[in-house]
Amino acid sequence: SQQGEEDPQALSIQEGENATMNCSYKTSINNLQWYRQNSGRGLVHLILIRSNEREKHSGRLRVTLDTSKKSSSLLITASRAADTASYFCATDEGSNQFYFGTGTSLTVIP
């Protein structure tokens, strides 16, 4: 079963705009990770945020984590056509299992 749920399921924006997608999960976690998947490069790790962190940045990516609400958001600034992909959040439960959400499909229109 999948623990995370991304919102929205699909998002279409113009190049240069910002894209925000959200992830909600069900149980306590050690860390939350965001991944990108497109047909060209497969599944690629973007950023990891630990449960004791609230915000993290990596280039044009900004991730927030609210453990009280069991939610995270991924912001992509100044989007590019190459950002077109599906984005997944993934969490653990302090166990060996690793749960991916259902994904947000992002389309960036040139």
Partner: protein, 114 residues
Amino acid sequence: GAGVSQSPRYKVAKRGQDVALRCDPISGHVSLFWYQQALGQGPEFLTYFQNEAQLDKSGLPSDRFFAERPEGSVSTLKIQRTQQEDSAVYLCASSLVGHYNEQFFGPGTRLTVL
């Protein structure tokens, strides 16, 4: 190569056939994961190895699924008596240790059961 490799990339099987999917993780990566991804869904956890030990196999959908990593490097996922519902992309990932680090994914094996 520096990344995770999987073979074959595509596999077509007749219902009832056995299949074996191979994963070559990044050298030195202790942890290895298998996932199943259906069309339009996120990857679903199948099983986890730390070195040669299979620490968690709770995600394997039935006893027709079997995974091994006998020498702590290459892993094989075997599906016996394949069914149509087994059609999916099977992804392998490796990481330094556990899920506290980023996972590096292979390109996947697309299995189609006719």
